[in-house]
């Protein structure tokens, strides 16, 4: 079973190096306007791509996911806090599923 620990350590090392290299090596402010703009848009692009369409299969039923998604959009558009958006959309999906089971 010790092979399992080798797997675990190997993947941890690879993943950590990826995370640590830029943070430790890039100390200066990047001057290029293009790269600065690019980095500005990275989180929006990444999170949007990760959210949709994956959110449609986040719960056991498409309909509860869609309702949760809609509620989250509505609340976020009205600038509610992270905790509010996350918990109310979960609650909405939960209520929808109460009717489904």
């Amino acid at each position: 079973m010790s092979r399992v620990y080798l797997y675990i350590i190997l993947m941890a090392v690879v993943t950590y190096i990826i995370r640590a290299l830029p943070l430790t090596l890039i100390r200066r402010e990047i001057k290029s306007r293009f790269i600065r703009s690019f980095l500005h848009y990275v989180p929006y692009a990444t999170l949007a791509a990760m959210t949709f369409p994956a959110i449609l299969s986040a719960t056991d039923y498409l309909i509860s996911s869609v309702v949760g998604f809609a509620i989250a959009l509505l609340l976020a558009f009205n600038k509610k806090s992270l905790l509010t958006v996350a918990s109310v959309s979960c609650l909405a999906a939960f209520i929808v599923e109460l009717f489904l089971r």
């Binding site: 675990i8 995370r19 943070l23 430790t24 929006y44 990444t46 791509a49 979960c90």
Partner: protein
């Protein structure tokens, strides 16, 4: 710790509560899968503690289950987690240049999609204690959920697990949507990324050949580069990546 460091730390802990809840749901599923392939609860927990990466860990289970090669596992993790390099680069611009190497190494441990999102969109400079707060709360949820899942897939009722799956996405939405009201470029970025992501997911030929980790990298690079080209940020937006 000084008063303001403490304040930053607890603010980080507080802000990470949705991450913690979402992580419990996701890592619970990981714990169940890990025990299915014969890993012990301890091994599953250590995996979560050392890696803190959902896509990476789930994909690794497949390699471990069939006794795959170490090279394969290393390449797989590298590709799936390559997006952390983009995130880490963006974060490097949020830190004051006076932040030392040890602190940077500590912050690096917690570069996940969710922690990154909260860190990079925080107004002003990123203070290390804030990151530590985010990391402690999030990793607690990640490991706790793994242990619960590995220990017994029956502890939590399925209908609760099902709904908790939305928590992480709800948080992502809360992060990206408010800025679409004030910036057309951000709106365009969000909509294009979602559209591309749908194409990559549903068009059969593409979906079969591109892993989800790679998909995110490709979309991020294309969309963020296009946005940077067509709508470069103003210079006075300065060191603030938000």
């Amino acid at each position: 710790m000084s008063g303001s460091s403490k304040h930053e730390f607890f603010e980080g802990c507080h802000d990470a509560i949705p991450i913690c809840l979402g992580y419990i749901a996701v890592s619970f599923a990981f714990g169940i899968e890990a025990s299915k392939i014969g890993m012990t609860t301890f091994q599953a927990a250590i995996t979560s503690l050392l890696n803190v990466t959902s896509a990476g860990q789930f994909s690794a289970l497949d390699v471990i289950a069939r006794n795959g090669s170490f090279i394969e596992l290393a390449i797989l993790q590298f590709i799936i987690n390559l997006r952390y390099m983009l995130m880490s680069t963006a974060l490097s611009q949020k830190l004051s240049s006076s932040v030392g190497t040890m602190k940077r190494l500590a912050i690096s441990y917690g570069v996940t999609d969710e922690i990154f999102a909260l860190s990079v969109l925080r107004k002003g400079e990123l203070k290390p204690p804030y990151s530590y707060g985010l990391i402690v709360t999030s990793v607690f949820g990640w490991v706790f959920g793994t242990v619960l899942g590995a220990f017994s897939g029956q502890i939590m009722p399925q209908r609760l697990i099902s709904c908790l799956g939305l928590a992480i996405y709800g948080m992502f939405i809360a992060i990206i949507i408010p800025d679409t009201r004030t910036s057309k470029a951000v709106l365009g970025t969000v909509v294009s990324a979602m559209a591309l992501s749908s194409i990559f997911t549903y068009v059969p030929v593409i979906a079969e050949h591109i892993s989800s980790g790679f998909r995110i990298i490709i979309i991020t690079v294309i969309v963020a580069a296009a946005a940077a080209y067509f709508a470069p940020i103003k210079e006075d937006e300065g060191g603030d990546v938000a």
